[in-house]
Symmetry: C2
Subunit: 463 residues, 2 copies
């Protein structure tokens, strides 16, 4: 023990002296414990589905070299720069916080290419930061949950179906309002615009991308003015964007428009495969649709594209998006194509918390409060608690030996459903469901709460 | 759908064009998938124990106002400042990344005091950042796992026993080399130094705090020169620091030194209660000791103090530390006493990963690779995989219909223990344990792997 000890990085820090109540920072949402318990259930469920499909977890560091973050001129992402308070003057290498999980993942794949097995399936659930102007659904710090499959040189198309299917399965199981996963294919729309005779298919896409924001007749005018289409061509392009089907019947609707093109055919087949691959998951609370409006920005994507709407929260825009890119990363010699999709967890959940549409049934994990007859009885109450914990029942012992009525109210305020009364001279151990008042004899080595009370439950007040 | 859509914060970002292999950033450790699977098992286990004891999860934002982070003149913490790349010139409010979880927790308690139930037990597992010079066990980005109990006005002593017990239970279950939780009590040592007649007990503590770093005779000299003790007093102070017992027998050893003081008695009783409260957990791989050297810095702590050593990694210093503070937070009218302990997860695990002493049995969650006879068979193989997943078996379908020998090697490279062969014209479904070569008929609606193969297992090569 004579080695020099480094500064104690795990030290619990000094208490800050405060004289006034602190206020929230706009854009940096924080949750109360019951909300965090609900969020954790959502994150656990995402992780469970991703892992069932063989996606491996990774985390990347929060900081990347600034030139890496700005490589594509993405200054509009409002990167946060990092600087050490005591940085030496000559310290020049600038770091920024990552604004998504894709740029760091691409860097991780290149850095570790020799140690990874391809195709590499990974999920990644982490905070990201953007210095945007805060508003509902747009935060400066937020959690994303991404899945991607990346390969070396060639990534077969069936992985597009796979990531759609995995995210669809995850989304369909979440305790949120109805979700619609909208799928399209860039080959389909580009091929169609080409088949229509558009001189610049990319210009058509840029206009069509605005179809939700401006009236149809304005779109038609813009297609003529900005994309060089005839009125007839413009009409046929708008007709394509109107197609939306919950199955592969869009293929017949597109064919009925009478446009032929090789790339269009490839896109139709791919999109049909994705929609059919997810078909079994359609229901009241979740649906997958082929939606031929979706263009997903202008660059990068080369095939399948995804967006997702949350019913009643359409103004949030897409809360889960992604697609296929032919070069997720490249080191100059080898390129790494990928397909992925990214769920904005904070973007989806925080508006639900704010509108009291989602929470947990209690603010603590405890299913049981073990009552305390007097302070001398603490070891006995603690032994009961340990016997319950040994069988997976979360519990806590009352903080002080108040009258039992007060201890019951202590449990009530936290939403703890059961209070355990230790044996005394007159009676054996008993447990009371404080919601019904029913109290029954119980054995700490045998009693279990009903399965639905074992862990905090998701509560969805429909206001 | 005519509302303005905010920038799509969930968008999967553009692929960065790269021309060279990126290199790691010193101090920002990243894990390979198998290591991350092992880390997740550790984090899951910590969470499980914390929740069984009723600790509620919270997360706090990564950023705090700089004046909050520097409130105690903690400039040595090497805070990272945040600045938006496009910050307006007049933007003056400075933010920094939190360097621990205690300062943000204190702020969270004050900010939400009206919405929390006290005593409030919370756990918090998050990244923190410090711009320190990187070395083994000292990182610029690392994960901490904290538990604290905080009350309004008064926090009974039994919570000191509680947090010690909960962290001891968590630590004793981790797949790491032997851990020793060292406990002491500031009342005990301060009372003893006072009883010895030290004119400045704090000065004695400052010297004794260095007892692991300098020879005993130097400590004695320093106690005389810097703390104003006589040679006899110095000897008695060093004698106290030499006491270390795995139970409450330290009480008799201290009494044998013949020092009496009221505060000393209070400290002896408290420390004995903490050590006795954890006694049942002592074993080969984990022990709790009363160690009367531990002073835990100079300020803040007012009673119980904790440190923790990892066998074979003593040069890391304490990897899990904390204690009791009479004012975790205060708003001027109300003060919030607390007791807590903080585990340096990255600090503990990354040296183990680096020395190949800890990993997982495979690099993917998948227990089964479902083989693919040909591309046309993909839907059938996918249906088998879905039936296995429905019963909780993580699996993946082979990426391409290579010869079965190649598909088996695909599984081998990832550590997947089983390969499933779909029925064909000649035989029904069968599954092969590729470690033994044993292959048996199997039903996708009934077969389960042995429990130990269901999830990746922790592997601890003893090099």
């Amino acid at each position: 023990m004579t080695q020099p000890e480094p500064a104690a990085v795990t030290e619990t820090a000094p208490p800050p002296a405060r004289t006034s109540k602190p206020t929230p920072l706009s854009g940096f949402p924080e949750l109360l414990p019951a909300e965090r318990l609900a969020e954790l259930q959502v994150l656990d469920q995402l992780r469970r589905v991703f892992e069932l499909h063989g996606f491996a977890p990774i985390e990347t560091r929060a900081a990347e070299p600034l030139e890496q973050l700005l490589r594509k001129g993405e200054v509009d992402k409002e990167v946060y720069l990092l600087r050490r308070l005591h940085a030496a003057e000559e310290e020049t290498s600038e770091l920024g916080l990552h604004f998504d999980l894709t740029v760091p993942f691409a860097r991780y794949v290149l850095e570790n290419a020799g140690k990874l097995e391809f195709p590499f399936r990974r999920y990644q659930i982490q905070k990201v930061w953007r210095g945007e102007r805060p508003q509902e659904g747009r935060y400066r710090e937020f959690t994303q949950a991404d899945i991607d499959v990346v390969a070396r040189d060639v990534l077969p198309f069936h992985h597009d179906v796979e990531v759609a299917r995995v995210m669809a399965e995850a989304l369909s199981s979440l305790p949120v309002p109805a979700l619609t996963l909208q799928v399209n294919n860039r080959k389909l729309i580009e091929g169609y615009f080409r088949g229509v005779g558009a001189p610049d298919p990319a210009a058509v896409m840029r206009v069509i991308d605005r179809i939700d924001k401006v009236p149809a007749e304005v779109v038609q005018t813009m297609l003529v003015d900005e994309a060089g289409l005839s009125a007839g061509q413009a009409e046929r392009c708008v007709a394509l964007a109107r197609i939306s089907t919950p199955d592969s019947s869009f293929v017949e609707q597109v064919r009925a428009l009478g446009v032929t093109d090789e790339l269009l055919e490839e896109g139709l087949a791919e999109l049909a495969a994705v929609v059919d691959g997810c078909a079994g998951l359609n229901g009241d609370r979740f649906s997958v649709v082929a939606d031929l409006r979706i263009a997903r920005g202008l660059d990068y994507y080369t095939g399948t594209v995804f967006e997702t709407r949350l019913a009643g929260f359409e103004s949030l825009g897409s809360i889960c998006s992604g697609g296929r890119y032919d070069a997720l990363a490249s080191d100059g010699r080898t390129s790494y194509p990928g397909v992925g999709i990214s769920l904005g967890v904070t973007r989806m959940l925080v508006p639900l918390f704010a509108r009291k549409k989602l929470t947990a049934s209690r603010s603590v994990p405890s299913a049981v409060l073990v009552a305390l007859p007097d302070e001398a009885g603490r070891p006995a109450s603690e032994r009961i608690a340990q016997r319950l914990r040994a069988r997976g029942v979360a519990c806590e012992v009352a903080a002080s030996p108040q009258k039992y009525g007060k201890q019951i109210r202590y449990a009530e305020r936290r939403g703890i459903p059961f209070v355990w009364f230790p044996a005394d001279a007159e009676a054996g151990d008993s447990v009371r469901d404080i919601r019904t008042g029913e109290q029954l004899p119980a054995d700490p080595d045998g009693w279990l709460p009903p399965a639905e009370d074992l862990h905090p439950q998701i509560v969805r007040p429909e206001l």
